[in-house]
């Protein structure tokens, strides 16, 4: 029989806490921290929560930019919401926004960025430097410059119509959504390529060499090894690009101003049209609230994804 000898130096937990302070391995709260958090809280409330809250309030008023309700506006309850629900342009705009941010932002930049990163992996150093610099330049160009470049390239006499043999075609006006999506993808691909290049360097070379020894061809190595290992990065990058595309109002506004017959009328552009052309600031604020909700949902998805990765569990299981 084993006798459990009690350690004479053992003390109760409370005694330990009284002597050494609280445990450091669990979250704890000190009231004095509120004072130190106050500046950050003030900035957050002043620059974010208050303006967003005021904008939410304005969404339920009949405020106008200019007109009878510019100075004397009142709370109109759900009137704007009823208008929103019956607004066909709004539904089309939501659809176009999803096409733009998911199609061009998430899918487009991921594919283009991956292609560039994978191709540059095994390229000459000089080629890699030139190509990645060009990709980064495309990303850092101001949206106005990107808009002008793509406007010139896709209208009559521009690079693309001439290349495809129809110099008099106005590709921008015939396929507005496609052209602005391409422009957006082109501008963000540089960032995606950098992210993927870094991630690719973390793919263990031993696994790839082992796969080569097992007679796996390049395609199998890519789809069964590289891409699954890259999956968390791909998801994070896709979500980041989605959020960035959401804010790409300037590009579409300068290229098509919402497009022929609202073909490229994403939600931010439509909100601007309502607020500053039709002067209906109240309704534009409500559309802005919808944008905040959509971005919020995407932001939550991003945070959830990041946290799931940090705690060691990847959101999807991968097979190797």
């Amino acid at each position: 029989m084993v006798e459990l000898v009690s350690n004479p130096d053992a003390r109760t937990l409370d005694a330990l806490v009284a002597e050494n302070g609280a445990r450091l391995d669990k979250p704890r709260f000190k009231p004095s921290s509120l004072l130190l958090l106050f500046p950050a809280a003030a900035l957050l409330i002043g620059l974010f929560i208050y303006p967003v809250g005021y904008s939410v309030y304005l969404g339920f008023t009949n405020l106008q930019l200019i007109g009878p309700n510019a100075i004397h506006f009142r709370f109109t309850g759900l009137q704007n919401v009823y208008f929103l629900l019956s607004d066909q342009v709004f539904y089309r705009s939501i659809w176009l926004t999803l096409v733009f941010v998911v199609g061009s932002g998430a899918v487009g930049t991921t594919i283009l960025g991956l292609v560039i990163a994978l191709a540059l992996q095994s390229a000459l150093t000089s080629v890699r430097m030139v190509v990645s610099s060009l990709a980064i330049v495309a990303w850092t160009l101001p949206p106005a410059a990107i808009a002008i470049i793509w406007y010139a390239a896709t209208t009559q006499g521009g690079v693309f119509p001439v290349m495809f043999g129809y110099p008099h075609a106005d590709a921008l006006y015939d396929h507005a959504m496609l052209v602005v999506s391409l422009a957006n993808t082109w501008s963000l691909a540089g960032l995606a390529a950098i992210i993927f290049s870094a991630a690719l360097r973390n793919v263990p070379q031993e696994m790839l060499e082992a796969a080569k020894l097992e007679d796996a061809n390049a395609y199998q190595r890519l789809t069964r090894l590289t891409l699954p290992i890259l999956k968390p990065t791909i998801l994070t990058s896709a979500l980041l690009m989605t959020l960035l595309s959401f804010g790409n109002f300037t590009l579409i506004y300068l290229m098509t101003k919402g497009g022929p017959s609202g073909d490229s009328n994403i939600l931010p552009v439509y909100s601007y049209l309502q607020g500053f052309t039709f002067k209906k600031l109240g309704y534009a604020a409500l559309l802005g609230d919808v944008i905040v909700l959509m971005s919020g949902a995407l932001g939550i998805a991003y945070v959830w994804l990041a946290q799931a990765r940090r705690s060691g569990r990847s959101p999807k299981s991968f097979s190797v």
């Binding site: 106008q64 930019l65 200019i66 007109g67 009878p68 510019a70 100075i71 004397h72 019956s86 607004d87 066909q88 342009v89 209208t155 009559q156 008099h168 106005d170 921008l172 006006y173 015939d174 098509t256 101003k257 919402g258 022929p260 017959s261 609202g262 500053f276 052309t277 039709f278 002067k279």
Partner: protein, 461 residues
């Protein structure tokens, strides 16, 4: 920090510092008191006048001249950049901020109705009655700035629109040198002849599309609307907007036919957000056969504005009024829109502001701004002034003669929506001429009804 540290041997130095600071602040406030009257003048820096330098020049002259004759008043110029809609947005935001309200502003006249409804402008009837130049104004222009019987905007002049045709291209197409179309079909026939004689030339330039904002319609489709079989697109009695009727269908059909036969300039040009401004350089290159343009277009080729300089323009470009659709009375049509000066209701110095406005309307300055802004003067006697005629000798009189039949755009809020709807409808037909007119009209109806409500639309058979 302990009190001991503050009160010590460094007292004299700290005391001097504190004294210096207080004096500086006090002096600042005293200076502000002495310079009591500052008038803010807001104007469009690069959209309104034919070139940004001219805007700077004219307003600089105003500032210098006025400050010289009124030494105790300072003029603070506030140039606002951007196109028509952007300029209006920024100006609206200025008015809603008490610190930034401009005492005097130069605004497009169709917007005055909205500003008055926002209770932002001061009526000027009393002051205008005492001047000698206001009674000389023609009635349509006086009415442009009048809302509910009171005058809020004093016009500096208006734009009218007509057909500018290239005589060299016409000669090649065997068209008459003194072309005077009687119906819209005449315009299309001329365009067809031009296309046949030279496929590289753009037969007809006519603005369309939503990218140009409200001004694009005033310089484009609205002219045709006023010449159509039923020019009344706003039923003022019932406060309803007409979205389907003989007039609208005629306008849409014109665009559709022209686009279907390839008679229009390329879409990227006429749909361009800067449509009104980009046409002038193309005429010296003999690129366009017939241009539906404003009176400011031929002025751009003179020696003052020089964008580009084209002295041959005087003999190469002819002017013909826009006909009515079937030649019905009054035979010609045009839309006009002008620019006016307004005074803010919340101005701290209304008397000084009125003095400034009166200063701006002295004959020389008024003629100068009319020329720089590409406007037809509102006073008939000015039209025969050499300064006006010489600015574009072949066309100035022609444009001025259109003033009696010209009609301005309505100034109420719903107009923006109707204007957007017809811009969208004409844009669709230009890009897809195979679209049936019924579909385009349906689109107009859906849009206006969707934005303003079903009770605000009217369908006329």
């Amino acid at each position: 920090m302990k009190i001991r540290n503050i009160i010590n041997a460094n007292m004299p130095r700290r005391g001097l510092l504190a004294l210096a600071l207080t004096t500086a602040l006090g002096a600042g406030t005293t200076l502000a008191w002495a310079d009591a009257i500052t008038l803010k003048v807001a104007y469009s820096a690069d959209y309104f006048m034919s070139s940004p330098d001219l805007a700077k020049k004219w307003f600089g002259e105003i500032k210098d001249g006025f400050e010289k004759s009124n030494p105790d008043i300072k003029v603070d110029l506030v140039p606002i950049q951007g196109g028509y809609d952007d300029f209006l947005t920024k100006l609206s935001l200025m008015y809603s901020n008490a610190d930034e309200v401009p005492d005097v502003a130069e605004v497009p006249a169709p917007e005055i109705g909205q500003w008055v409804a926002s209770d932002l402008l001061a009526p000027l009837d009393d002051q205008l009655a005492k001047t000698d130049w206001w009674p000389q104004y023609v009635e349509p222009v006086k009415n442009e700035g009048t809302v509910d019987g009171k005058v809020y905007g004093v016009s500096q002049g208006v734009n009218t629109n007509a057909l500018l045709y290239d005589k060299t291209i016409f000669a090649k197409a065997n068209l008459p040198d003194d072309w005077k179309p009687k119906t819209w079909n005449d315009i299309l026939d001329a365009a067809r002849a031009i296309k046949k004689s030279d496929p590289n030339v753009w037969p007809l330039w006519l603005l369309t599309g939503t990218a140009q904002g409200t001004q694009g319609v005033v310089l484009g489709a609205l002219n045709l609307m006023y010449g159509s079989a039923d020019p009344e697109f706003y039923n003022e009695k019932d406060d309803k907007w007409v979205v389907d009727g003989k007039g609208i269908r005629e306008v849409l059909d014109f665009y559709r036919t022209a686009a279907a036969e390839g008679l229009l300039a390329p879409a990227s040009q006429i749909l361009n957000a800067n449509g009104p401004g980009i046409v002038a350089p193309y005429l010296p290159k003999h690129q366009i056969g017939i241009t539906l343009g404003g009176n400011y277009v031929p002025q751009i080729w003179n020696n003052v504005i020089c964008g580009p300089c084209w002295p041959e323009g005087v003999k190469d470009i002819g002017i013909a009024p826009i006909p009515t659709s079937q030649g019905q009375a009054p035979g010609i049509a045009t839309a006009f829109s002008g620019w006016s000066l307004v005074m803010a209701k919340g101005s701290a110095h209304p008397d000084a502001a009125w003095k400034l406005i009166n200063f701006m309307f002295q004959k020389d300055l008024a003629l100068e701004v009319g020329n720089y802004g590409g406007l037809v003067p509102p006073i008939p006697s000015y039209i025969s002034e050499k300064a006006y005629i010489d600015f574009a000798p072949s066309t100035q009189k022609g444009f001025a003669d259109l003033l009696p039949v010209a009609r301005s755009a309505p100034s109420n809020a719903g107009y923006k929506v109707w204007s957007f709807a017809i811009a969208q409808a004409t844009e669709t037909l230009v890009l897809h001429p195979e679209t049936p007119i019924d579909q385009a009209v349906e689109g107009m109806k859906a849009y206006v009804a969707g934005q303003l409500g079903d009770d605000k639309v009217e369908v006329r058979k």
